[in-house]
Amino acid sequence: MFRSQNRGNSQPRWLFSFVIVVIFFLSVLPLGRLAMTGFSSLFDGGARELLSDPAVWQAVYDTLTTSFLGMIAAVILGGGFALLLTLFDVRGKTALGFLFMLPTMIPPQVTALSWIGMTGPSSALLKAIGMAPPLGSPQPLYSIGGIALLYGVQNAPLVFLSLRAGLLALPRDGVEAARLSGASSWQVLKDIILPLSLPGFVAGAAIAFVSCVGNFGIPAILGIPASIYTLPTLIYSKFAAFGPGTFADVSLLSGLIAILSVIGLTVEERVLRGRDYRVIGLSGQVAMFRLGNWRALGELVLWLAIFITLVMPLTALIASSLAPAYGVPLTPATATLDAYREVLFKQTITRTAFFNSVTLSLTTAIGLLVVTVLTGYYLVRSKSRLAPVLSALAEIPYALPGIVLAVALILVFAAPIPIIGISIYGTIWIILVAYFSSFFAVSLKPVVSAFRQLDPSLEEAARLSGAGFGRRLIDIVVPLVAPAAGASVILVFLIACNELTVSAILWSAGTQTLGVAIYNLDDSGSFNLAAALSVLVVIMVIAMMLVLELMAKRLPKGVVPWRS
């Protein structure tokens, strides 16, 4: 007779241990190690030296100013878009929404490069139309304001999504009741909609702030040439000038970033917790206001914003990639595809980077899927009180800026791995481990939402049919969550392929990724090559986003990050 001790749960006994091991290695171990090094250096005096260094406080100050200003810009841009697109009868909403969401998926270093291509004395685009400032005049984006502006553009979609989710949850009947009470459109907006959507605003602003604090690509490209350091770029420069105190220093600096992020995330969580009223009434159907004569003006403003924040920089990027050399004017006669030929076929460095990024991202996306299907299954099905704790632990590595995790993994793997005695520091494996840890939450989320939607009786019916755990997983569960699993693979691939922060810290000769290659090309002055590589990356991003967009109808709500 078959007997088991599984208390009526559908999971086999080994699943719990599996989940514990996965979450321990991907989340608890690296972050615990980081906290340990941070605390021990706090107490052994090395911290005093670091904390009395004015450069550190300058970096903290610059991080806070750029992030705060960037947050303001993101709130204005993202909030305006969310309000106009969600509440008013503008045309072309799907296209506007998709285009507005693009910047979040474009890697920050590419955003920075494209904006550099749009401004300053050596802009190929401005030269082509004869509007370039004279040579020798400063690049206006190499400044606190420039960094903040690009933070705003990059993170406006986060505010957009958060606010839009709040607005979509507003009950239409509440608005209609206000109308029947005699309120004008403006009064409804002011008295009902804006107060109710305030949590969405604040939460969006908080996530945008956290994202700015952890951003590496933008301050690396815009800040370092002007000697403006934020905490992430300061960590990067500490690694570049490697010394005996480096580990202690960077662990303290990442601790600072982690603290700032946790403050932001706590604000977000607090604000959203109060959003209980969303269940009342017929939500889902949004109240719509007519703009009347103002509609054309509203649409013009929206498209103009898209034009300035997306079309112009990307055009500039393409122009830079077609220019024969940095600073040479671009005309139909001088335009050349040499840069593409160079990055695709000639330069071994870029070809290695392509190969590394694609292999790493594919391995991460598919490998993580196996882990997350099992973990997600446990997290959704388990009645254990540990499940929510494990869920939260799985979220942390992605919620924290990538640089914090990269530093944590260096601390874990700087010494050879105990027992087997092999060191993976400096190899491609440490980047792979970092990707697994960093994108675990990205991979897990679509799978968990699909499991939550799955009627448990579908699986119970299979159990009574005699199917054991593995059998059920293959025959019933996996086919039913397949669309979400597909989305999870594409998302992880997309994000991992564009990632710079983690690999910038972890790469060494031969293990550079696409992000690192773009940054290094720009750093060494090959701006047109960096631009060409960036154009290719943007094309890849858009293609994958379109695939997900087409899949969206078959996916559970909330899986595609730029739709809500």
Partner: protein, 342 residues
């Protein structure tokens, strides 16, 4: 096959509160059709899920013949119980065709080829869905999905078939048709069937035995006829059939079945002593020229008759039927031909 025995079965969930199932003992004879009847939240679904093996009892045991299926320390996993279940949501797998859904239990058991084809065809024939074998569940109506779920139960000759409110999502007309299908299915398969429902009419129409549950406890198990005629206690009396429950000083009476003569005797010397709950079915209340005075408080036209609520002199309410139209506020006299002390 063997009989299914629930022995002092209890289940308390970790969330605390009163146990969902409290000390339930029950025997279902081999080939019996038991309806578990009770209001929502009474623990009937938890009992069913324990029999299926989706929940483990916190006390007591479940036996099939002399094989222990579950007790507080160990249990046989659902996949090894040879049971089948029709779920309230039908639980058809949307990515498989009708034939694949029905044949899945065979596939898992390693039955393949011609033998599987034949069994699937037989099962689909039995529910008259042979023409739909290649469709997807999404293309079927509610009643057809229900029948696919039933065919899936039929295909492996299970020891016990469990049905969890299978008619709850169907409209009235389909319900009657499906009740017929269930009876047919029971006669044909000879399987022990356990049917969870909150609808007493459904339970009485289908089952050979009805078990009434409330707040986790088993109140009474009997045949439908017995439970209708001789309900035990106020809860069962209120749940099974129509009727009004009144408080009258009848506790001292020897017989629980009370006729009009005995009732008149009781009511003549009422002193509020030893009151008992008395169940009066509306068909036993006769409107006539003599008897107790009552006032009509509500009239509902049901087609073949009028259903009345009557207020008695002591403010208690009686239910009655009338062939002739009456008005709210009319004063009538009633004779109670028969009543039952709960």
């Amino acid at each position: 096959m063997a009989k299914l025995i629930l022995n002092r079965l209890s289940k308390a969930f970790e969330t605390g509160g009163r146990p969902a199932v409290n000390d339930v003992s029950l025997e279902v004879r081999d080939g019996g059709f038991l309806a578990l009847l009770g209001p929502s939240g009474c623990g009937k679904t938890t009992v069913l899920r324990m029999i299926a093996g989706f929940e483990q009892p916190t006390d007591g045991s479940i036996l099939l013949g002399d094989r222990v299926l579950a007790d507080a320390s160990e249990m046989v996993a659902p996949e090894h119980r040879n049971m089948a279940m029709v779920f309230q949501s039908y639980a058809l797998w949307p990515h498989m065709s009708v034939a694949d859904n029905v044949g899945y239990p065979l596939k898992v058991r390693g039955v393949s080829g011609q033998k599987r084809e034949t069994k699937i065809r037989e099962a689909l024939n039995a529910v008259r869905l042979e023409a739909y074998a290649d469709r997807r569940p999404a293309d079927l109506s509610g009643g057809q999905r229900q029948r696919v779920a039933l065919a899936r139960c039929l295909v492996t000759e299970p020891d016990v078939v469990l049905l969890d409110e299978p008619l709850a999502n169907l409209d009235r007309h389909l319900r009657q048709e499906m009740e017929e299908t269930f009876r047919e299915f029971h006669a044909r398969s000879g399987a022990t069937m356990i049917y969870v429902t909150h609808d007493q009419a459904e339970a009485m129409a289908l089952a050979t035995d009805v078990a009434v549950m409330s707040e986790g406890k088993l109140l009474q198990v009997a045949s439908p006829q017995e439970i209708y005629a001789r309900p035990e206690g106020r809860l069962v009396g209120g749940l099974v059939g129509q009727g009004a429950i009144l408080k009258w000083p009848a506790a001292s009476l020897q017989n629980r079945l009370i006729d009009w003569q005995a009732l008149q005797g009781l009511l003549s010397h009422r002193d509020g002593q030893d009151c008992a709950d008395i169940l009066v079915r509306p068909q036993d209340v006769e409107i006539s020229g003599e008897g107790m005075a009552a006032t009509v408080t509500s009239v509902l036209f049901e087609g073949e008759r009028y259903a009345l609520k009557l207020a008695l002199g002591d403010d208690q309410t009686l239910r009655a039927f009338s062939r002739l139209p009456v008005q709210v506020g009319d004063r009538v006299s009633v004779v109670i031909r028969s009543a039952w002390r709960l």
